[in-house]
C-alpha cells in the first residue's frame, strides 16, 4: 500500500510535464509583431504607442524642444555640467554628445508609423469594411513630421542647399539587413509633402485633443513650406487654419493662465503627459527651465540678456507673466512647462507633467505674417494684420503697419511668443541669420564654438552617429563635413 502510493507520487510528478505544448511558452505582455492591427481599437492602441515614443525625453518630451532653443541665442547657461549644456556649447563629435537618440528614437517612431500604415494598407487590400482613414492620416502626418525634424537635425537647411545630403527616407518596414543611404534634402522634402498631402483628406477637421487632426497637418505643412522658402504655399496652409476658425487666439488676460490648462483654445497639437505616461518629473522639459535650487532644480537654462532686452521693449508685455527671477536675479526663468510661476502644472496631479504644445495658433499667425511678407508678391498689409494679432500682447508697443513691418519684427515677435517652444534656432537657420550667444554668465571659456555663429558653421547640424555608421558602413562617406 505504502509502496503503491509512492509510485503514484512518482508518476504524478512525471505527468505534470507531459502536456503537449510544454515547450511553447508565450510572453504575457507582448504579442507577435505581425498581428498588431486587426480592429479600429488596435489601430488606436498603436497610435497611442507611437505618440508615447514622441513624448520621450529624446524627442518632443524634452531634447528636441530644447535643441530648438539652446542653440538659438535666446538661452544661456550659468554653469557647465548641469545637463544638456552641450547643446549650448556645441561640444558635439561623432562619439561624444552626438545626441544619437534623435536618430535612434526618431527612426524608431518612423518604424512604428510605418507599421500602422502598412498594417492598414494590408487590411484595406484584403477588403476590410472598417474605416481606418483617420488613423492612417495620423500615422502619415507623424511620419512626415519625424522626417522633417530629422532632416533639419542632420541635413543642411533646404534654402542653403537642397541637393545636400538629408536623411534616409523610410516608408516601408525594413528588414534587419537593410543599410539605407541618405537621400538628398530635396528628396526628403518631396516625401514629407507627399505624406502630408496624402494624409490631409483622411483627417478630421474637428478638435482632437492629444491627437493629430487636419489642422495639425496644415501647421506642419506651413512649417515645411517656410523652410523651403515657398511662402505662397506656406501662407495658404496657414490661412486655411486661421479662416476655418476651429481655433482662436488667447486674449491678453487668457495668455498666462493658458499654460496652466490642457487643450486651450489655440492649441492645435498637444502631446499629453501624465504621471507614469511620459512624465519625466525633475528631468522634464519644465524642470530644465526652473530657477536653480527651486525644488532642487539645477537651473540648466535661463534666458539670455538679448532675449530679455527684446521682451523688455515693453515692461507690460503679458508674456513676462510666465517668467520669474533666476539665480542671477534677472526675470529670466521661464515656467511655461510647469504651468505657472508657482508651478501649478496644467491641471494634472504632477506639475511636471505639462503637455507639450507642439503646434498652436499663435505660431500660425506669425507664420502667416512672415509668409505674406515674403511671398512672391508681398502683402504687407496682411502681414501686419497677422503680426499685430500677436504683437498686441505687448500693449505698450506700437502696432506694426504696412510701412514698419519687417522680417525682424516678425522673428522678434516669434521669439517672444514661442520662447522655449523649440522654434527659435530653426528660424535663425532657415532665414540665414547670425546667432550670438550670451556667454558672459558661465564660469568657463567656450572652446567648441565662437560667440557668434551662422549656418555655415559645421556644428549647426549633428554628426551621423558612429553607431549607425558601424552598422551601415555606406554612411561613412556620407558623414557630415567637419565631423
Amino acid at each position: 500500500m505504502k509502496k503503491k502510493s509512492l509510485y503514484i507520487i512518482a508518476l504524478a510528478s512525471l505527468s505534470l510535464f507531459s502536456c503537449k505544448d510544454f515547450l511553447d511558452v508565450k510572453p504575457t505582455d507582448s504579442t507577435d509583431s505581425s498581428v498588431t492591427i486587426q480592429t479600429l481599437a488596435d489601430a488606436k492602441v498603436m497610435i497611442n504607442g507611437l505618440t508615447r515614443q514622441l513624448a520621450k525625453s529624446s524627442l518632443y518630451g524634452r531634447n528636441l524642444m530644447i535643441y530648438g532653443d539652446a542653440k538659438g541665442g535666446d538661452l544661456t547657461i550659468v554653469s557647465q555640467g548641469r545637463g544638456l549644456d552641450a547643446l549650448y556649447v556645441f561640444n558635439h563629435s561623432i562619439n561624444n554628445n552626438n545626441y544619437s537618440d534623435f536618430w535612434t528614437d526618431g527612426y524608431n517612431a518612423i518604424m512604428q508609423a510605418n507599421n500602422i500604415i502598412k498594417s492598414i494598407d494590408a487590411l484595406q487590400a484584403a477588403g476590410t469594411e472598417l474605416d481606418f482613414n483617420n488613423f492612417e492620416g495620423q500615422a502619415l502626418t507623424l511620419r512626415a513630421l519625424l522626417h522633417f525634424e530629422l532632416v533639419k537635425l542632420y541635413g543642411k537647411t533646404y534654402t542653403q542647399d537642397p541637393n545636400a545630403l538629408g536623411i534616409p527616407v523610410v516608408t516601408e518596414l525594413l528588414p534587419t539587413s537593410a543599410q539605407p543611404l541618405r537621400n538628398k534634402v530635396s528628396e526628403v522634402y518631396t516625401q514629407i509633402i507627399a505624406d502630408l498631402n496624402a494624409a490631409a483628406p483622411l483627417l478630421a477637421k474637428t478638435k482632437s485633443n492629444g491627437y493629430i487632426n487636419y489642422y495639425a497637418n496644415r501647421v506642419f505643412l506651413s512649417r515645411v513650406y517656410m523652410t523651403m522658402g515657398d511662402y505662397d504655399k506656406a501662407l495658404a496652409a496657414s490661412e486655411e487654419i486661421i479662416n476655418d476658425k476651429v481655433y482662436s487666439l488667447y486674449s491678453n488676460s487668457e495668455w498666462v493662465p493658458s499654460w496652466a490648462s490642457q487643450f486651450g483654445k489655440e492649441s492645435i497639437y498637444e502631446i499629453t503627459l501624465a504621471k507614469d505616461q511620459g512624465d519625466l518629473g525633475s528631468s522634464s522639459l519644465g524642470f530644465y527651465y526652473l530657477r536653480n535650487k527651486d525644488n532642487n532644480a539645477l537651473g540648466n537654462f535661463t534666458a539670455s540678456d538679448y532675449f530679455l532686452d527684446r521682451l523688455g521693449q515693453d515692461e507690460t508685455d503679458v508674456r513676462w507673466g510666465i517668467f520669474t527671477k533666476d539665480e542671477l536675479d534677472r526675470q529670466a526663468s521661464c515656467y511655461k512647462y510647469v504651468g505657472s510661476v508657482d508651478k501649478k502644472g496644467d491641471g494634472k496631479d504632477t506639475y511636471t507633467a505639462v503637455n507639450i504644445k507642439v503646434a498652436r495658433l499663435s505660431e500660425v499667425y506669425l507664420n502667416a505674417a512672415e509668409s505674406a511678407l515674403k511671398k512672391a508678391s508681398p502683402d504687407k498689409v496682411k502681414a501686419a494684420t497677422y503680426l499685430n494679432e500677436i504683437r498686441k500682447r505687448s500693449p505698450d508697443l506700437a502696432a506694426a503697419t504696412s510701412t514698419s513691418i519687417s522680417e525682424q519684427m516678425i522673428l522678434d515677435e516669434k521669439s517672444k511668443e514661442l520662447y522655449a517652444e523649440g522654434v527659435r534656432y530653426w528660424d535663425m537657420i532657415r532665414t540665414n541669420k547670425t546667432i550670438t550667444f550670451n556667454d558672459e554668465h558661465v564660469g568657463v571659456t567656450m572652446s567648441h564654438r565662437e560667440k557668434s555663429i551662422n549656418r555655415t558653421f559645421y556644428k549647426t547640424i549633428l554628426p551621423i552617429p558612429q553607431v549607425e555608421i558601424n552598422a551601415n558602413p555606406g554612411l561613412e562617406d556620407q558623414q557630415n563635413p567637419g565631423y
Binding site: L14, F17, N48, G49, R52, S93, N108, N295, N470
Partner: protein
Amino acid sequence: MQVVNAQQIAVAGKVSGPDGTPLSGVTVSVKGTNNSSSTNENGLFSLNADQNATLIISYIGYKSQEVALNGRKTISVNLAQDDQAIDEVMVVAYGTAKKSAFTGSAATVNYEKDAKDIPVTSFEQALTGRIPGVQINTTSGQAGSTSTIRVRGIGSMNASNEPLYVVDGVPVVSGNVGQMNSAIAGTTNNIMATINPSDIESISILKDAAASSLYGSRAANGVVIITTKSGKAGKPKIDFRTSLGVTPNWATDNYKPGDVQQQIQYFYEIFHDYRTSNGYSEEKANEYALNRMNTRFGIHGYEFSSEGTGLYDKVIIKGKTDGVENRDGKYFDWNDALFRTGKYQTNDLSVSGATDRTKYYSSLSYTTDKGRTYTNEFERIGGRLNISQKLSDKVEFATNLNLNHNNQEGYNDTRNTGTNYMYLANNLLFPFYWPTDYKTGEDYKLRYNSLGYNPLYYDKQWENTSKTLRIVAAPSLTVKFLPELTGKTIFSYDNAEVKDHLYYSPQHYHPTNGATANGSVFEFSTNYKKIISSTTLNYNKTFVDDHTLDLLAGFEAEKNEVNYQYASGSNLPSSALHTVATAGIKDANAYLWGNNMMSVFSRAEYNFRNTYFLSGSLRRDGNSRLGPDTRWGNFWSLSAAWNLKNESFFAQIEDINLLKLKASYGTNGTLPTNNYGWRSLATYGYNYMDQPGGNLTTIADKNLKWEKSHTFNVGAEFGLFENRLFGTVEYFNRDSKDLLQDVNISLVTGFNSTLMNVGEINNKGIEISLGGDMIRNDNFRWSANVNTSFLKSKVSKLYGGKDITWWDPTGGDSRVQFLYKEGEDVYSYYMAEWAGVDPSNGKPIWYTNDGTDGEFLHEGRGATNKVSDAKQVIVGSPIPKAYGGFNTDFEYKGFSVGLNFTYKIGGKLFDSGSRDVAEDGYYWERIRSYYAIENSWTPENPNSLYPKVSGNDPEDGITRSTRHLYDASFLRLKNVNVSYRLPSTVSSKIGLSNARIFFNGTNLLTASKFKWADPEVNQYGTRGWETPFGKTYTFGLEVSL
C-alpha cells in the same frame, strides 16, 4: 553464502572514529578475498575469516587500516580521519563518483572543514582562492550582494556566463533576484544567500565537458554542485555555533580625500588659473577665486581670505559668527558619519543523526550583517530538514527541505540617485558642508553644489527593503529493483518570493518619485518558481572481477516561471504612511514570464580493474527559449582515464601512491538569456491619454539556435611519498561557437540590434594544484597547498569580422568601454592612451594612435596635448595572466591555524573612481583625493603624475584613458583562522562531545600595485563607487552535545 571451512573463525569487532564515536557503514573486508561485511549503527561488525587473515577496514573520509588477526576473535579499531582524502567520493552529475575513477575535471571544497568559520552571508566568497580554474568576483562589499563565478573563462558575449547551480542533485534558481536592481541601479540581491553556509557540507565544481555534459544545455559555464549536510550514524548530535564579526575599517584605502586645507587650495587654484589664463591679473584672479569660495561655502558658515594673491598662496579659513553654530576650525567628517563598524552575527543550531533506516539533519540559524554603510543591513532566518527513510531494503524515501527568509535593506550602491555613500563622502561633499544649517541649526535640506545632498537628512526621506522568502522542497524516491539496478526519481519545487519595497517622501529630491510626485511608494513582488522532475535508472555491475559497467539513463523536465506584480502610489497624504493604500494616484502592473525544458540523457562508464576507465554521455535538450525548428540540441562527451598505479610495473614504486592520466572531449550548450529572443514582438504598456498603447519592440531571427561549446581537457593526478605531496595538472581548450550576439543593425530600421548566432570565443588554460603535508606526526601537522590557473580568453570570430564596442555593465555608470575584436582578449579595454605630463609646463600628453606624428613626437610616437585628438585603442585586458590561492594549515594538538591567500598576477584594472577624484579641475564643485592633490604638476613638482590644475574645462582627467589603468596584480590574506578544540577528555567532563573556539580574520593584509582603492575587483576589472571590502574580525564558539 560462503561455506565456513576449517581454518575459518568468527571475528567480531568495533570500529570507532578518532574521538571514540562508533562508525556505522564501515566496510570490513578480508584481504585477498571477496569476503566483506560492514558495521552497524553501534560500530559493530562480524564476519568469518582465516585466523591469519588480514582485515581491511575502510570508510569514506577516513584512512584505511589493515589489521592482521593473528588468531584474535575480537578486535577494536580506531580509524583516523583522512584529511587528504585522495580518494574521496565526489558528488557529480546525477550521482557520485570516486575521485580515483573520475575521468572528468572537477574540484571539491570541503566547506565544513575549510570555510565554515568565514563570516559570509553566501558561500561564494568563502571559496576565493581555493579552486583552480574558478574565479569568484564580488563587486560590492554590501551585505547580501551577488557574486559571480567564472569557471574557466568567458564563453559568451550575450548569453549568460554564470555556471549552473545544483543543490542536492537539483538545479536551483541563482543570481540576482527581485526588482531593486532596476529601481536602484547597481544593487543586487543574491538568492544564494538563502542557503545558510553552515548547512553546506561540500561544494564540487564541474569544469570540463565529461563532468558537466550530462547537464547539457545549462552547463557550458560549469556546474556548482552544493551538497548539504546529512545525518551521520550514531546517537543524535546537537551542534551549536555562534560567532560575532566586527568590521571596523576597510581592507584598503579607498579614494581618501585630501585634508581640508588641501581641498580649499585646490579649489582656489582652479579659479585663480581660470582668471589668469584668460588675461586677468593675479590680484583679480585672487579676488575672483576668494569670491567664488565665499559664495559657495559662505552659506555654510565659513569665510575665506588668503595670505597673498599668488596661485599657491595659502587660503585662510575662518568661521562666521552670525549663526547659532560657529564652525571656526571645525569641519564635518562625512566618512565618519556615513560608515560605522560593521557587525556580523550568526547563530546556528543543528540536530542530526542516523540509524540504519533513518538519517536526519535539521538546522535553524539566525544571521545578521549590519554593513559598514550605516543604512545597510542583512538579516536571515532559516531552517533546513534533510531526512531519508528506508521503507524497506529496496525502497528509500528522502526529502530535503529548506526554508529561509532574508531581509535586506539600505541599498545604496549606485551613483544614479546620489545616494552612494562612498561617492558622497569622498567626491561630492566638502568638509565645509554640514548636515545642519549654521544659522539655524536645522537640517540642511537644499542640494549642496555638485549634486550632493545631505544624506543624513534624506536617508529619513526614503527607504528600501527586499524580503526574500524561499522554500525548496525536494522529495526523492530511490528503488533498488535489483542489487545492480537502481531507479531514482526526484521532484523539486523551488520557490522564491521576493518583495521589494521602495518609498520616497514628498520631501525627497528623486527626479520622478519625490517632491514632484508628492512622494511615492512602490511594492514589487517577484515570484520565482522552478519545478523539476528528474527520473534516472542506474545499472552498476562488476563482471568477473575485472569489468565494471555503470549505465545511467534519465528523463528530466523543468518549468521556470516568474510571476511579477507591481503596485505603486504617488501623491501621499502624509509622511507617516508609506503604503499604496493611502496614495492619491495608483499604478499597477502584473504579468509572468518563463521558459520550459525537457531532456533525455544517458551515460555509460566502464572500467577494467580500476585501471582503465572509459566514459561517455549523451543528452538531448529541448527548450522553449528557441523556436520550434531549432529548440532541440544534442550534447555529448567522451572521456578516458588510466590509473598507472594499478599497473604491475608501477606498483613497485613505493614513493608513488597515485598516478592517473585522463582526457575528455565533449559539447555543452548555452541558451539565449531572453525567454523570447526568437520572437518578433509588439509590447504593450505605452499608455497614452489613459488608454493602452503598443509598440513594436523587437525584430528577431526565428531560427536562433543554441550556443555550443566544445571542450577538450587533459590532466594528470598524482600522489607521492605516502601522499605527502599530491596534486593535479590540467590543460583545457574550450571553443564556444554560434555565440549569440546583439548584432548592431542600421538604426534606420527602427531597431538598434538583433540577436544572431555569430561569434566565437576560445578559452584555454592550464590549472595546477599542489598540496603537501610538510610535517605529519601524532601531535603536529603542517600542510599547505597552492593553486594557479593560467587563462587565455580570445575572441576568434565576430559577425562580418566587425569590431563591437560595449560598456562595462557594472553599476550602470558607463565606467569603461570594451572592444570585441577578432584575435584579442574577450575583455579588451578600449580607450585613449595617456602619455603622461610635460614636465616643462604641466600639460597633459596623449598618444594620437592615428598613424600620424601628431602635433609632436613623444617617446618616438605621435602625440598631442588635446585629448580629443587621441584615438581609442585596445590597451589591455582585465583577464589576469595567472590567479589562484595559497593555503596553509598548522595543527598542534587542539590548536590549528589556517591561512588562505588569494592572488592575481597580471591583467589590468580600470579605476573609474579616479576619473572623479583625480582629474584636473573639470569637476570644480567636488572634492579630490589626497593623491590627486599631491601629485599634480607644480613648478616644484615637475615630474608629476597628473597635469597642472586648470580652470579651463579640462577633459583629460575624466576621459576614460590609460591614465586610470593600473596593473591589477595583488596578493591578499583573504582569511586567517585560529582555533582551539578542547581535548575530548576535558569536554566530555562538561558533557560535551566537542567544544571549539575560533577566530577568523578576513582581508587583513593586502599587497597591491594599485594603491588608491581596493584591488579586488569584479570580472570586468573595474573599480568604481561600489562599497569596498572591509577587514572583518570574527570570534566564534562551537559546541556539540
